[in-house]
């Protein structure tokens, strides 16, 4: 038991590694603040193209969405970071993460929002247009607000996944929480920093998990 505490729950090590773990934690927050809005922008664009463009555009948007939902995000990230330099595009780790998340996360948000827009009855658009609103105004003020409300649980759940996904940035050496924990673990030969990182992720995301669980239960019972 003492061995276990020494190897996994070593407070001495936590104290020692605290500064870099904390900086990693802040980095993870910063990464999330970058990737969530980026994905949202991509998602709204894709959803609008997939629901209100000409048929060729719709088809292209659907194909794009399926393509980037089929490629694992880590594969995309490695391709951008390790592959592109061979073609002369030297891309920083930040750049690779930003582009990779824009493509991957955007496709997921796009799919969720598309379902939301399709759940709003056509009559809403027609009624809004007949009151004199332009197409853009009707979308922005009438259709999108209802669409977002209808798929709120999925949007929040997707956002949770995006924050969790920022941990793959450790693979391209961005010093976020998991990367820093690994560094601290290899310096101290002790697993405590990784346990500490896991605890930090849990404390950060648990409230969101509870919220989603409540919303999902309500959605299924309400059907």
């Amino acid at each position: 038991m003492q061995d276990f505490t020494f190897a996994f729950l070593n407070l001495e090590i936590v104290r020692e590694a605290w500064p870099i773990l904390w900086s990693g934690f802040l980095y993870t927050i910063a990464l999330s603040l970058l990737t969530v809005p980026l994905g949202m922008v991509g998602g709204v664009t894709l959803a609008l193209l997939a629901t209100s463009g000409p048929w060729a555009v719709r088809l292209a948007a659907a194909a794009w969405t399926d393509l980037f939902r089929a490629i694992p995000p880590l594969v995309l990230l490695v391709f951008l970071y390790a592959g592109l330099p061979f073609a002369g595009f030297d891309i920083s780790a930040w750049g690779a993460v930003a582009i990779g998340f824009f493509l991957n996360t955007g496709a997921y948000y796009g799919e969720v929002l598309r379902a939301g827009i399709e759940s709003v009855p056509r009559g809403q658009m027609e009624a809004a247009r007949s009151t004199g609103l332009t197409r853009g105004q009707a979308l922005a003020h009438v259709v999108l607000p209802q669409a977002v409300r209808n798929v709120m649980p999925d949007l929040i759940s997707n956002t949770l996944e995006v924050v969790k996904l920022t941990s793959i940035a450790s693979v391209v050496a961005l010093p976020e929480l998991l990367f820093q924990a690994r560094q601290a673990q290899s310096v101290t030969y002790n697993a405590t920093p990784i346990v500490a990182a896991a605890v930090a992720y849990f404390l950060l995301l648990w409230p969101l998990v509870r919220l989603i669980s409540r919303l999902e239960n309500k959605a299924m019972v309400g059907r």
Partner: protein, 226 residues
């Protein structure tokens, strides 16, 4: 070499692709095996937990809810790293394959339990009461009346979640599993040419585009009539 030719040379170099095709194909097999093991074990464990939860033992349910929340909140890569790099400190060595399998199985178990449970609670109470009043036992009611109705509405969310978690097999490359990504990354470093990585990406598309399309079909096929 012109720009386009050099692009082709780097990313669609057929010679490099042909050389490393066997390696990536082996990775493909490993990804499929890993994915199947995760799906089987994760869905079975999730169902077991949901059934256990329906007995309504309070202390037990707190435990189940905590475990489920834990594996929904932790990034899969963190769990993989913890098992692979952490467990040796306790004298237990696990292979990269086992660490990846166990991590993603636990994550799928957690998400599946939550979905099954939502499905079970969505079945109206009257169904329970009617079934019990005909003389069925608790377990018979669950198995013959409640679960068949509950499972039907869980199919679309479960399919999508399972697909998303299965793609996490690529995380195995971080702990040295030679699945598709791991294999094509080694091929890229042997050949100093990213065409092998293109090959890997194509392999993922071949594997997952049908799966994603299947998920979309399931969503419309089992859609609840509103």
């Amino acid at each position: 070499m012109g720009g386009f030719e050099s692009f082709l040379f780097s990313f669609f170099n057929l010679k490099v692709m042909a050389t490393y095709l066997p390696l990536v194909a082996k990775g493909f097999g490993l990804t499929v095996l890993l994915a199947l093991l995760i799906v089987l074990c994760g869905l079975a464990l999730g169902l077991a937990l949901a059934v256990l939860r329906s007995f309504g033992v309070r202390v037990l349910n707190w435990g189940i809810i905590f475990v489920v929340d834990l594996f929904r909140a932790l990034p899969p890569l963190v769990i993989i790293v913890l098992l692979f790099f952490g467990l040796p400190a306790a004298g237990i060595t696990v292979s990269g394959f086992a660490a990846t399998w166990l991590s993603l199985t636990l994550v799928l178990m957690a998400f599946a339990e939550e979905i099954y449970w939502a499905g079970i609670t969505a079945v109206p109470k009257g169904q329970w009461e009617a079934a019990r009043s005909t003389g069925l036992t608790f377990l018979q009611t669950l198995r013959l009346v409640v679960l068949p109705q509950a499972l039907r509405i869980t199919i679309p969310p479960l399919t999508n979640r399972t697909i998303a978690i299965t793609k996490g097999t690529a995380l195995g490359s971080v702990v040295g599993v030679a699945e598709i990504l791991g294999a094509s990354q080694s091929a890229m470093s042997f050949s100093a040419n990213p065409s092998a990585l293109t090959l890997g990406a194509i392999a993922y598309l071949i594997l997952f585009i049908p799966v994603v399309a299947f998920g979309r079909w399931v969503e419309t096929r089992f859609a609840w009539k509103r």
